[in-house]
């Protein structure tokens, strides 16, 4: 948190989507705070989180919009899809209905994002093996057929949470390197922040203020 605002070279925009109660906010919280929220109330509208990560030696700031899963928010949360570089699509491995709705979430995502948006499928709550309602093989096949990346994760234990967010970033970064993702396109979901020599806002400004105060 104490790092200056320009202490990264890229900003990637993510969205997290999926049915209500699948654990979207818990995944975000586990990723940004490394903690599990045991009693997580329904999200209102959208929630926002950030974390700076490193991919191939580049510091990248992830700006993550976590959307409410409840139907009544759906119309407005759709507007947050625009310009997302990464979309984490979440279902709950213990509730088949949340898996069955994936195709509708996927359709929305494809319609509202751009072709280079990386979509990552997450089967959450994999710590609850005894209550499993969707097999790994089945979801894996669905992901493969639709060209999605996929893991089973647990916001509770933290298993694969880090991986899902980081693998998405790696894929986006790769697209930039390959030139498949146009940084100048308004809705690429990526901003490049070239390093600004001589501008280290926090320390420099504070120093300057001190100097002024000396009189």
């Amino acid at each position: 948190m104490s790092a200056g605002p320009y202490n990264y070279s890229y900003i990637f925009k993510y969205i997290i989507i999926g049915d209500m109660g699948v654990g979207k906010s818990c995944l975000l919280h586990q990723f940004t705070e490394k903690k599990f929220m045991a009693d997580c109330p329904h999200t209102i509208g959208v929630e926002f989180g950030t974390r700076i990560i490193e991919v191939s030696g580049q510091k990248i700031k992830l700006q993550i919009w976590d959307t409410a899963g409840q139907e009544r928010f759906r119309a407005v949360t759709r507007s947050y899809y625009r310009g997302a570089a990464g979309a984490l699509m979440v279902y709950d491995i213990t509730r088949r209905s949340t898996y069955n709705h994936l195709s509708s979430w996927l359709t929305d995502t494809r319609n509202l994002t751009n072709p280079s948006t990386v979509i990552f499928l997450i089967g959450n709550k994999c710590d609850l093996e005894g209550q499993r309602d969707v097999t790994y093989e089945e979801a894996s096949k669905f992901a493969e057929e639709n060209g999605l990346m996929f893991v089973e994760a647990s916001a509770k234990t933290g298993d694969n949470v880090e991986e899902a967010f980081l693998e998405t970033a790696k894929k986006i970064y790769q697209s930039i390197q390959d030139g498949r993702l146009d940084l100048n396109a308004a809705e690429s979901g990526v901003q490049h922040k070239p390093s600004q020599p001589g501008r280290n806002p926090l320390s420099n400004d504070q120093q300057a203020n001190k100097d002024n105060c000396a009189c």
């Binding site: 209102i44 509208g45 929630e47 119309a75 002024n212």
Partner: protein
Amino acid sequence: MADILSEIVQPEDLKKFEKIYHEQLYKNDVTPKAQFEYAWCLVRSKYPADIQKGIMLLEELYKTHEEGQRDYLYYLAIGSARLKEYSKALNYVRSFLSIEPGNQQVVSLEQTIKKKMEKEGLVGMAMTGGIVLAVGAIVGVGMAIASKAKS
């Protein structure tokens, strides 16, 4: 920088939900859903007048539609904070937390509001400092002139 208090609604989204609301208003049959969606977009506008209108619509919903009260309180807090009415915003946050203590989303909104206040507080102090310096300079020049006139 994007965060929950600075992201701006897309004009076409605002227009879309405005249209739905006005169509219902024309038929004198506004649903809480349409009013909330329109208000939610308004409080994310870059124009203070829009935010003000969004707050009005949310206040009305808060009084008439019990079911969605936690949503309305949350966006009332956001709208007020965007208008820099911070004490009002924090009051909404507090009444929310008195009903749902420890709600992570609202606690985090409270932190964002306080951080913004701090930031703007520092800016205010810097400006005051500048004025003190300027006044000091004027007084100094005045004294120099006065002493010159004496000699």
